[in-house]
């Protein structure tokens, strides 16, 4: 799948293709050793544990996705608190915040109900998490469409007693 570009770039044979390095603007804190150049018909050692195929949703990519979602939610929340209600902001909040919460809960589940120790409970809770996230995104969409929108809704509840006083 990833054959062409990687082979052209590194000139390393097929088995080492699984090492996709993450390119960031800032140099990595810990230097990872690069695979040495192989001579002639040398073949790299097979991994002791079979390596899973590189997946843009797993491993270090998942870590980066987590940071990206967290980073996006900062300006979204800031806009909501400083500017106020805006339909596009509400729509984005209704997508980004459930995804962020999903990833956070996923980490909590991984910590306390890991699959190898709790095979049944972890599967049940994972399904429950997916369900409740879907329901929450649906609820957020419903607030945005049939009601005043996430930010204004929250604002109305938050300032409910204040509007009563001024009246």
């Amino acid at each position: 799948m990833f054959a062409r570009t990687l082979v052209k770039r590194s000139g390393v044979p097929a088995m080492a293709m699984q090492q996709m390095t993450l390119r960031t603007a800032r140099p990595l804190l810990f230097k990872a050793t690069k695979p040495k150049q192989l001579f002639g018909d040398e073949v790299p050692n097979p991994p002791a544990v079979p390596q899973p195929p590189a997946n843009r949703l797993k491993g270090s990519y998942h870590w980066m996705n987590e940071r990206a979602v967290s980073l996006i939610s900062v300006p979204l929340l800031a806009t909501a608190f400083v500017y106020g209600s805006h339909p596009i902001n509400d729509m984005l909040l209704g997508i980004v915040l459930p995804v962020h919460a999903y990833m956070g809960f996923q980490q909590v589940l991984l910590d306390y109900f890991e699959y190898r120790r709790w095979p049944m409970i972890s599967r049940v809770l994972k399904g429950a998490l997916v369900t409740i996230t879907g329901l929450a995104m649906f609820g957020a969409w419903r607030i945005n469409t049939t009601d005043v929108g996430l930010t204004a809704y929250f604002g109305r509840l938050w300032n409910a007693n204040k509007t009563k006083k001024t009246e």
Partner: protein, 170 residues
């Protein structure tokens, strides 16, 4: 019955010979039960004391803020999940969760309850947000020293206090 060793010169042998009888030394026998080894082990595991852990660990900037980050996150996210899911499913159960209705209910709550809840939500949300920014700051490799942890930690605490005070009362 005379012991074979009574003729030796060893002091132990002489004492044994002097006793002229075999001393019966044994631990008291326990009652034989039908319990399997597994049941005994289970009972032992349940009644075994646990070494002191959270109760004696000195509260430190590192783990207290980290634990708070997770707890505030679960609190805010869990509450938001439940509320949003309830709003999504409201027509199915005939609930009216429109902003006007709920705002009226909230306004009718007694002030201490209202202020307490608002302080809790505002505190949790603002702490989680500011500590989240602190985590992202760390992820770029900055302030990952002991002093850095303390400095950023105090900054987060200060920001949280200010934000909670403002959001709760204004």
């Amino acid at each position: 019955m005379y012991s074979v060793i009574s003729k030796t010169r060893l002091p132990v042998a002489r004492t044994l010979a002097a006793c002229n009888a075999r001393a019966f030394i044994a631990t008291p026998m326990r009652e034989r039960t039908e319990e399997s080894q597994a049941a005994v082990a289970e009972r032992a595991r349940k009644n075994r004391p646990v070494s002191p852990n959270l109760g004696i660990y000195q509260p430190q900037m590192s783990w207290v803020l980290s634990g708070l980050h997770r707890n505030t996150g679960v609190l805010v996210a869990g509450g938001a999940y439940l509320y949003a899911a309830a709003f999504g499913l409201a027509p199915m159960f005939g609930l009216d969760l429109s902003s006007a209705t709920v705002a009226a209910t909230v306004a009718s709550l007694p002030t201490p309850v209202l202020l307490g809840t608002k302080a809790l939500i505002a505190g949790s949300l603002s702490f989680h947000c500011f500590n989240g920014i602190r985590h992202l700051w760390w992820d770029t490799g900055r302030s990952v020293s002991n002093q850095g942890v303390f400095k950023t930690g105090y900054a987060v605490i200060a920001a949280t206090t200010l934000a909670t005070g403002y959001l709760t009362f204004f």
